[in-house]
């Protein structure tokens, strides 16, 4: 709890607000319209005049606070509170509602049935059929929701395009698998022969295949429709194997395969998740694919709810190569580096060397991904993401950095873990070109974009939206000398409307100006020495990446909380609720007491109440966190 409060104090200097203050604020700015018999928008302030309402009407409190924070309320024409008052009010409400909710104990949120996303589908087909081919290339990409990931149940929509592709890909995958030795052996565990009818063999095959495809035991009644498909194909004079494959095609378009289903909890109370569902939660979290035999076996023995077993599984699953899929998907969406393949790539004409060098671009892309995985594999401190004595290196990255790295002699083209020399300026995520590029324009760096990137991706405190009708910056007036970006931004911050946010955003970006768009180090730009000095709102002065790292390390609680939010949201595949933030509190406190151990974070997530339990019906009223 302390951490949460500290978070706001650290971020906004929030002290001394009380319930009475909040009521005074509401009376001053809202009461005029929101009272009497016909209050505006049907909302009457009298609904929330007791402290108890923070618990019983938490959703109302949060939604009105959001509107105030966003500047939607009070409406145009009404007296508007100053931005500091708005924020102080909003932050107080957030903290107070949170405190009330957590006092009531942790309640798991509900997990909707969801289809496998594109990557999960590809990995699952790969592991199910034991074939090494990305068959999902032609599937549409998924959008993202929740905490910003494409595995969020709420945004995994289904289109006619999907159903068509599923039908086609099922045929493609089974045809392909039939020709591969390993896949063929995996599927055809029985064949007709003396004393074995084709139907008996098909039944044996389906009895093995379907539980794997559906990620749980199946009943005889569930096998029946697929056996019927086999029979129908036989009737069409299809050979035995083709008939089996036809039945498997059916299984691959079944909702039992395409969706992650957790059988309904019809009681009103939360309950521990079914073993097989838990096995899937684990494997889709840390692999992005179906459970393997070990997990299925533990589920069959009923051992997966044991916290010690769960912790053990974190280690085992991480060590498997499949956890690269997790590292890639999580890291690229957390840091937004997936966009490097699109609009955000450095301009090909301006940075021709990079554009031409596919290996270097690949090394740049994989550096944060592999770094992320190593931090967890080696169980380092989470502080490593902010500053580190190691990085992921290759010969090409070494040249890009202009450093001498102790690369493994025979592996200079393979990205691997290397120590960094003293004062390398390459420690932590902020020394990585992928991060520095994705927070730049394709053709120039931007302290605003980089600052906003740090606020959002590192600290979890994104800047508020720009106010409506921002006056356009009239830059470069006739007769004046062109200004540098820094000078223009200084001008920007002279306008109090802009300054309220930009003085919070820009300093972080200024400190990174020594890195160009591609993440290369530069001492000057256009003949002028780089000025990487910066000053925060509270007067803290710092300069360059080293100074920035220290500033971030001083705020590591914010960082750790943000990463915990992100990982928990990814693990649960949904947006976090108010109740989930209580889980996050507990995890962050535990991390703080244990040297920010990376693996502990994953262990705490998989043993947490929302990960291991299933909400009852009707699901507890969920509150959106923000």
């Amino acid at each position: 709890m302390m951490v949460f409060v500290l978070f706001f104090i650290a971020a906004f200097g929030l002290l001394g607000q009380t319930f009475a203050d909040s009521q005074a604020f509401l009376r001053q700015y809202c009461e005029k319209c929101h009272q009497d018999k016909a209050p505006a928008g049907g909302f009457r302030l009298s609904r929330i005049t007791t402290e108890e309402s923070l618990a019983t009407d938490a959703a109302k409190w949060l939604s009105l606070t959001n509107r105030v924070k966003n500047g939607e309320m009070p409406p145009k024409g009404a007296p508007v509170p100053p931005i500091e008052a708005r924020e102080a009010f909003g932050n107080w409400v957030g903290t107070a509602v949170h405190e009330k909710a957590c006092a009531a104990g942790i309640v798991p949120g509900s997990a909707l049935i969801r289809r496998l996303n594109r990557d999960e589908y590809a990995a699952t087909v790969r592991d199910l059929l034991d074939m090494h081919m990305d068959i999902a290339r032609t599937l549409p990409m998924d959008g993202a929701g929740g905490e910003g990931f494409d595995n969020a149940a709420e945004t995994l929509f289904l289109s006619p395009l999907h159903t068509e592709k599923y039908l086609e890909l099922a045929k493609f995958a089974t045809d392909f698998a039939a020709k591969e030795f390993k896949s063929h052996a995996r599927i055809f565990v029985a064949k007709p022969g003396p004393g074995v009818t084709p139907e008996q063999a098909a039944r044996t095959i389906l009895n093995v295949f379907l539980p794997r495809a559906f990620r749980r035991p199946v009943t005889e009644a569930e096998v029946a429709p697929y056996l019927e498909l086999f029979r129908a194909a036989q009737k069409q004079k299809e050979p035995f194997e083709a008939s089996v494959l036809f039945a498997l095609r059916g299984a691959l378009v079944s909702p039992n395969f395409l969706f992650r289903v957790e059988s309904a909890n019809t009681g009103t109370a939360a309950r521990p998740l079914n073993q097989y569902a838990l096995a899937s939660r684990l494997s889709y979290f840390l692999w992005g694919s179906m459970p393997d035999e070990l997990l299925t076996d533990l589920a069959a023995k009923g051992k997966l709810q044991d916290p010690e077993v769960l912790k053990q599984m974190v280690k085992i699953l991480l060590r498997n190569d499949r956890s690269m899929g997790f590292a890639e998907r999580f890291t690229e969406q957390w840091l937004h580096t997936r966009d490097l393949g699109g609009d955000k790539a450095p301009d090909a004409k301006l940075f021709a060397d990079l554009a031409k060098d596919e290996d270097l671009r690949s090394d740049i892309r994989y550096q944060p991904i592999m770094f992320f995985r190593e931090v967890f594999l080696q169980n380092l401190s989470l502080e490593y993401f902010l500053d580190s004595k190691h990085t992921i290196g290759t010969r090409k990255l070494e040249r890009h950095f202009g450093l001498k790295l102790e690369l493994r002699p025979n592996q200079t083209s393979q990205p691997h873990w290397v120590p960094l020399p003293e004062k390398s300026n390459r420690g932590g995520l902020l020394g990585m070109p992928a991060v520095l590029s994705v927070s730049s324009y394709p053709y120039r760096t931007s302290p605003v974009l980089r600052g906003a990137w740090i606020l959002e991706s590192m600290l979890g405190t994104p800047p508020p939206p720009p106010p409506a009708n921002v006056p356009a910056l009239e830059e470069h007036r006739e007769g004046t000398a062109p200004k540098t970006v820094r000078e223009r931004l200084a001008q920007h911050r002279n306008d109090p409307v802009c300054a309220s946010c930009h003085s919070r955003i820009d300093p972080f970006g200024f400190a990174l100006e020594n890195y160009d768009v591609t993440g290369k180090w530069r001492a000057e730009e256009g003949g002028k020495a780089i000025d990487a000095s910066a000053e925060l709102l509270d007067g803290t002065k710092f300069a360059g990446p080293e100074g920035l790292r220290q500033v971030l390390l001083d705020r590591k609680d914010l960082f750790v909380r943000h990463l915990t939010n992100k990982l928990l949201g990814y693990a649960l595949g949904r947006g976090l609720t108010l109740q989930d933030s209580c889980t996050v509190d507990a995890i962050v406190t535990k991390l703080k007491d244990n040297g920010y151990s990376a693996r502990l974070l994953l262990e705490e997530i998989v043993t947490s109440a929302p990960f291991r339990n299933q909400a009852g019906m009707p699901a507890p009223k969920e509150l959106v966190k923000r």
Binding site: G143, G145, L158, L161, P463
Partner: protein, 440 residues
């Protein structure tokens, strides 16, 4: 890229030599060609100084940005002063762009309770979708934007979809030209009787399995399985419609050329867009579908336009011109390029004969942006063009100027009327769009 060009030429030729028999048969029976509807969406607004034509009514002069449309000017309607009242507020992009075809206010959410309306194209597809192998075609050139825009609090799903089959379901887009082509080809050529039968059987059994699963789920989950089942059922029906044999009720108006396969990875943005225009033209010509949407980019798209002579930045960057002369100049060039792609599609459709008329005569192709001036995220005076004569219903060759802030939804009421799927109201419409339809 030479091969790309030759493929395009082949595609273009596809209908001409091969398509006559069916077409003539159609002409002989006196059946009217079907009406098609497409919407092309351009992100980031326009340089308003060079958009609006001079003059009104039939006597108008194309502006600089609209100059690429000279050859099809008499089949074009330019509409000025319409706006989407429900897209005001919220934020600068998502609220505007997600609602360009729905005209409702989207729900502000990182994803949990997404909400929009049914888009005009999907209203049309509800009628025509059961008559063609594909209910509608959703195309784009850039993948879905990932993540939640934490600054404004909207999931980027909103900025990546303009076609919504219902309030909670955005439709996935195809961005790979080859996949799009293959999909059209498969749909248009159908399959053998046996293969169709087997697919039908397979889907039937799977639906049985889904139904069993449905019985074990809670309410919220049931809704999702219901969605799955209705889509699978629709697929089953489409398989039946397009298979050879007695169930077949649809035939391509013009066969597709199996050799005209576009590349999987186009050489650049420009080629990519052109190939997708070709896909719409082919789909309409063959009658594989009668409804299509295309997104030139997602909301806030910052695709680099440095491939254009005189442009040095990305799309979103130039739209935030800050009234700087040079950026405004670049902004106009980018707008004009988009209009030229639109003109290319209209001209292609105009070149496809269909009895006495052309496919363009029997189509209506909307070009729209959800903002006027991108710098100020202005949702008033939207840039809107409608090409084609909608089967002869549209009174084309005009610049229609309305009183300020007339509802965009009125245009959709009229388009749905011309399409043959009339509605009383569409979102906040107040009636049909005066002067658009003949006698209207």
């Amino acid at each position: 890229m030479k091969t790309g060009l030759s493929r395009r030429v082949m595609l273009r030729g596809a209908g001409v030599g091969l398509g006559l028999p069916w077409l003539e048969a159609m002409a002989a029976t006196g059946a009217k060609p079907p009406v098609r509807m497409a919407a092309l969406y351009m992100p980031n607004g326009v340089n308003v100084d060079h958009w609006t034509p001079k003059g009104t009514g039939r006597d108008f002069e194309l502006s600089k940005t609209l100059s690429p449309l000279a050859a099809v000017k008499d089949k074009l309607v330019v509409m000025s002063n319409l706006w989407n009242a429900n897209s005001i507020g919220g934020d600068g992009h998502y609220v505007k762009e997600a609602a360009i075809l729905t005209c409702v206010t989207i729900k502000k959410t990182p994803g949990a309770d997404i909400g929009n309306g049914v888009s005009v194209d999907q209203m049309a597809a509800r009628k025509s979708g059961i008559e063609t192998p594909l209910p509608s075609l959703e195309l784009g050139v850039t993948p879905v934007a990932i993540g939640v825009d934490a600054v404004v609090g909207y999931t980027r799903v909103y900025g990546s979809h303009i076609a919504w089959s219902d309030a909670t379901t955005p439709l996935a887009r195809e961005i790979n030209p080859r996949s799009a082509y293959e999909r059209l080809f498969r749909a248009a050529s159908g399959q053998s009787d046996i293969a169709g039968k087997m697919d039908t059987l397979l889907l039937d059994r799977v639906l049985g399995d889904a139904n069993r699963l449905r019985g074990q789920l809670g309410t919220a989950d049931k809704i999702r399985v219901d969605e799955y089942m209705s889509l699978m059922r629709a697929l089953e029906q489409r398989v039946q419609r397009a298979s050879a044999g007695t169930q077949r009720t649809w035939k391509a108006r013009v066969p597709m050329d199996s050799k005209a396969i576009p590349p999987e990875k186009p050489a650049d943005h420009a080629e990519h867009v052109r190939l997708m225009m070709d896909m719409i033209a082919t789909a309409f010509q063959t009658d594989t579908t009668r409804v299509a949407t295309f997104m030139f980019g997602n909301a806030v798209s910052n695709v680099s336009f440095r491939f254009l002579e005189g442009v040095s930045a990305g799309h979103h960057d130039v739209s935030h011109h800050a009234k700087e002369a040079d950026k405004l100049r670049q902004y106009q060039l980018v707008n004009q390029w988009h209009v030229a792609q639109y003109a290319y599609l209209l001209e292609r459709l105009a070149g496809m004969r269909e009895g006495e008329s052309t496919v363009l005569d029997n189509s209506m192709v909307l070009f729209a942006s959800a903002l006027s001036d991108g710098n100020s995220h202005n949702p008033h005076k939207l840039p809107l063009l409608l090409g084609g004569r909608g089967g002869g219903r549209i009174d084309s060759g005009q610049h229609l100027v309305y009183s300020e802030d007339s509802p965009l939804a009125n245009l959709y009421v009229s388009m749905l009327d011309a399409f043959g799927a009339p509605v009383e109201r569409f979102a906040d419409s107040t009636g049909p769009l005066a002067g658009l339809l003949k006698g209207g």
